[in-house]
């Protein structure tokens, strides 16, 4: 066991964990940041997506010991107080969820996409999001939500501490 220093949502944490522990388990078990979900454990479903230095990564296959120098953003760090991130707003407005279990990962992936490509078209959205699974089948609404967010989102507001 060693102490790993992590910067998550702009806050610094020191956690006792094996460096090879998954970032997902550290977030959920040790820091009680349960908005990031487990879905498959092999990077196939995207439920565990977080931003690492602004880019979408699967936290279930990311070792905690490898991200200590980086800025990590989880779903809990996206809104500023009561002010939701435009992607969160867009998901709400478009009713882009059913059970909502995939939603955190979808939103984090979408934030990353729009940061890289603020004017992503439908084809680009589908290509980028294809690694995120929604078993309820809310895909068409998620695409619409991201298109909507693309219209209002400014790259600079996409995630506190996420950009560099």
């Amino acid at each position: 066991m060693s102490t790993i220093r992590l910067t998550i949502n702009g806050k610094s944490y020191a956690v006792d964990a094996e460096p090879q522990s998954s970032l997902l388990s550290v977030l959920r078990e040790q820091l009680d940041l349960t908005g990031t979900k487990y879905g498959c454990g092999e990077g196939q479903c995207g439920a565990c997506t977080v931003l690492i230095d602004g880019k979408a990564q699967r936290s279930c296959i990311t070792r905690a010991g490898t991200v200590s120098q980086k800025q990590i953003t989880t779903i809990e760090g996206l809104a500023s107080g009561d002010h939701l991130h435009p992607v969160q707003e867009a998901f709400l407005d478009a009713a882009a969820m059913q059970c909502g279990y995939c939603t955190s990962g979808m939103i984090m992936s979408a934030v990353s996409l729009l940061q890289q490509n603020p004017s992503a078209n439908e084809r680009e959205i589908i290509d980028f999001m294809d690694g995120n699974i929604c078993r309820c089948g809310a895909y068409p609404r998620i695409v619409r939500a991201i298109q909507k967010a693309a219209k209002v989102a400014q790259p600079s507001v996409a995630g506190k501490g996420a950009g560099r």
Binding site: S21, G35, G39, A95, Q98, C99, D130, A138
Partner: protein
């Protein structure tokens, strides 16, 4: 044309829906209610035997004097908050919102004043479970009545206070106003300090669907903000101080028995170990340690040889439950004389259709957190049947049900896959040994292996049809996949329809739309085969043999939206499928494109026309229909569980393909709103037309008839002449 009223439709028994009535019924003490809820107005909904009969198939079990058979209650507090208690649960079908709408409508209060308490066995009345698309036709209606009864009671109070005629009083926005003067009064002022109880009567005036203001409109998900901010705590997110993580050591194959086990190493690692019968598990302060300790257990298991998916369909046919008479269980339906009609028919067709086992793959795997206080057990778990799981726990630990409380936080989907309490029992067993709360969350591999599957099945169809397109004979045998939707809705004078129960080689159970998917696939594929035989257009052939007006209406509406008669290019094919199920009517039209070089099948466009009576929330209805089509795409095209000798071979997300963004076709939905008919559920029915529509469209594109689901797990293997044509 004939039209079915919902009361005339027999609800088909679904053998794989697990169901049981509560073994104990306790009298409810009104004082206890108010002690818990605070003063105000309490309205209770009493389940009528007729409604009960529909849900459980047995009217006599729970008939009793008031107030035992309560299925929901509503409380208006002195602060004006409305709290509604129902045993139904939320797992993505959005009933927390649609039931709130129903209450808001009848009680005339804003949605945000309403809190739904759901699926908590201590706080909510008994409910068999959330399945079978029953919430909207039953609970939604009950809650409307409860809310309407509360409204009438409040009007009565105001009338008394003002010495006014109740007829002249209007309700709006949590207030009662006198139409003949300017006075008005808030509900809270009427209920202050009171403890009023009301049961609903049969003549409660409900607001007709045509006058709905809140119900019938699209409403945003009531807890959507908690979801998009990650605040909502799903069952797997639950946590308690001093909680341990549990892990179960799994057998090497299904139905294996434990020969020997060595747990010392796991114990030395600091884990709590449990060996109880064939249950072997550990609990530890971190998931990593629990996983490592479970891996350090040395266990020897013994299992008998078991069938594999490559011999599955032969196995199902040969392993019907011996000595079981289908007529005894209502599994046999006969009309006219099929044998004579088949002999006399101009054309006789015989075909076999199959469906594979598939996995629900809810994105949140099963999870439970269990805590003991002495001999009282509390479990938070994701299940569609909290009261059923309470019964399983009471049985497993030999304690009375009133010592068990099961709570169901809104869960990460179910689709019929979370009727049972495996993780609840596992967590509770480990927690009892550890004397601390224990959480068990299944891995994706465990969910794929140790849950249960949608039943596989074999269906044999033999039909007789006249040259003019009249169906004269219909014989239909379903082996194992289930009997929902087994009866044909086409007019056929001579029928024999049989369900054959089979000893399933895999653990099987409920699934969204369940057997109706298989039965509609076989029936609607065969309809196309008959139409081709008599050289009739598929739509014309169906309409010729279909009298039901509601079903005709959806076929006609979908055909119009789809453009059924438009011309096609090479590789393009059109097909349809439809029917009724769970009180809803669906017609699905699909356009596919088959790449003749690669054999790739692409579903390009799907048009669904759906009618389920009066629409409660149109946007959520569209969401459910789109979701049904997208989820249904997996079972239609590529999902199948592969297994061999008691092991699952493709039990992980990287080996079991589910629909993704790139698989989604253009989806168009036509809603037929029948405000004159009661509202029915919509989570299941819209799925059943898709698979046959795709199969029929593939035939239309390349002349290749596919009779097994999934249709094209690895694309199509096309013969040289198809490729070159």
């Amino acid at each position: 044309m004939s039209e079915r009223s919902p009361m005339q439709i027999p609800l088909e028994p679904e053998r794989y829906e697990l169901r049981e009535a509560a073994p104990y019924r306790f009298d409810l003490d009104r004082r206890e209610f108010f002690k818990f809820l605070g003063a105000g107005v309490l309205v209770v909904s009493v389940l009528k035997p007729a409604v009960m009969a529909q849900e459980s198939g047995s009217a006599n079990q729970r008939r009793g004097d008031l107030p035992k058979d309560i299925d929901a209650w509503l409380h208006i507090g002195e602060d004006g908050r409305v709290t509604v208690y129902t045993g139904k649960v939320e797992m993505g079908q959005n009933i927390r919102t649609s039931l709130s709408q129903a209450v808001a409508e009848e009680l005339r209060v804003p949605m945000e004043k309403i809190e739904m308490v759901m699926g908590d066995t201590q706080l909510t009345p008994f409910d068999m479970g959330t399945f079978g698309s029953r919430t909207t036709p039953t609970m939604n209606l009950q809650l409307r009545k409860v809310a309407a009864a509360a409204r009438e009671l409040l009007i009565g109070l105001a009338a008394k206070q003002w010495q006014a005629d109740p007829q002249h009083l209007l309700v709006t926005d949590g207030k009662i106003a006198d139409a003949q003067s300017t006075r008005s009064i808030e509900y809270t002022a009427l209920t202050k300090g009171q403890q009023l109880t009301q049961t609903i009567s049969s003549d409660i005036p409900l607001i007709p669907a045509a006058n709905w203001k809140v119900a019938g409109q699209s409403a945003l998900k009531v807890d959507g903000r908690d979801i998009v901010t990650g605040r909502h705590r799903y069952p797997s997110d639950q946590k308690l101080p001093d909680m341990l993580y549990g892990k179960v050591a799994r057998p090497t194959a299904f139905n294996a028995t434990l020969v020997s086990v060595e747990m010392k190493q796991a114990q030395d690692m600091g884990a709590t170990v449990v060996h109880d019968g064939d249950f072997v598990g550990v609990a530890a302060p971190s998931m990593a340690l629990a996983t490592a300790a479970a891996a350090a257990i040395r266990a020897e298991w013994k299992a008998d040889p078991q069938p594999s998916n490559k011999d599955l369909f032969d196995y199902l046919r040969k392993n019907t439950i011996a000595g079981k008479d289908p007529s005894g269980d209502g599994d046999l339906y006969e009309a006219g004389s099929v044998d004579h009609a088949l002999d006399a028919a101009d054309h006789r067709l015989q075909q076999t259709y199959t469906v594979s086992y598939i996995a629900h793959t809810p994105l949140e795997p099963r999870a439970a957190l269990a805590k003991w206080d002495g001999d009282h057990l509390t479990v938070w778990t994701g299940t569609q049947r909290p009261f059923g799981v309470r019964g399983q726990l009471a049985e497993a630990f030999r304690i009375p049900e009133d010592q068990v409380r099961v709570l169901m936080p809104d869960t990460g989907s179910g689709y019929g896959g979370k009727h049972t309490g495996e993780t609840a029992i596992e967590a509770a067993r480990l927690a009892r040994a550890a004397r601390r709360p224990v959480k068990v969350t299944w891995t994706r591999e465990e969910e794929f292996t140790w849950a249960y599957f949608r039943p596989a099945g074999v269906i044999d169809v033999t039909s007789g049809v006249r040259n003019d397109g009249t169906i004269t004979a219909w014989e239909f045998h379903n082996y194992n996949s289930g009997s929902a939707g087994i009866r044909t809705y086409y007019e056929v004078p001579n029928q024999r329809i049989v369900f054959h129960a089979v000893n399933s080689p895999l653990r099987q159970g409920s699934y969204r739309a369940l057997a109706a998917t298989a039965n509609h696939f076989a029936r609607e594929s065969h309809m196309d085969e008959m139409a081709r035989t008599v050289k009739m257009d598929s739509l014309e052939f169906r309409l010729k043999n279909l009298r039901d007006a509601r079903l005709r209406a959806v076929f006609e509406a979908a055909a119009k939206q789809f453009g059924w008669t438009k011309s096609k290019s090479t590789g393009q094919g059109f097909g349809m499928g439809g029917g009724y199920e769970k009180l809803g009517n669906i017609a699905t039209f699909a356009e596919v494109n088959v790449d003749r070089k690669s054999g790739d099948v692409r579903v390009v466009r799907v048009v669904s026309a759906f009618e389920c009576g009066a629409i409660v929330n149109p946007d959520n209805l569209r969401n459910q229909i789109e979701g049904s089509n997208i989820q249904g795409l997996g079972g239609a095209l590529f999902e199948a569980i592969e297994f061999e000798n008691g092991k699952i071979l493709n039990g992980r997300m990287s080996r079991y393909r589910v629909p993704r963004f790139s698989d989604v076709p253009v989806l168009e939905t036509v809603l037929l709103d029948r405000k004159d008919l009661p509202s029915a559920g919509a989570g299941e029915c819209p799925m059943v037309g898709l698979a046959p529509a795709i199969a029929n469209a593939i035939f239309d594109a390349i002349g290749m008839r596919l009779r097994s689901l999934p249709l094209a797990p690895n694309g199509l293997r096309l013969s040289a002449d198809v490729k070159s044509s």
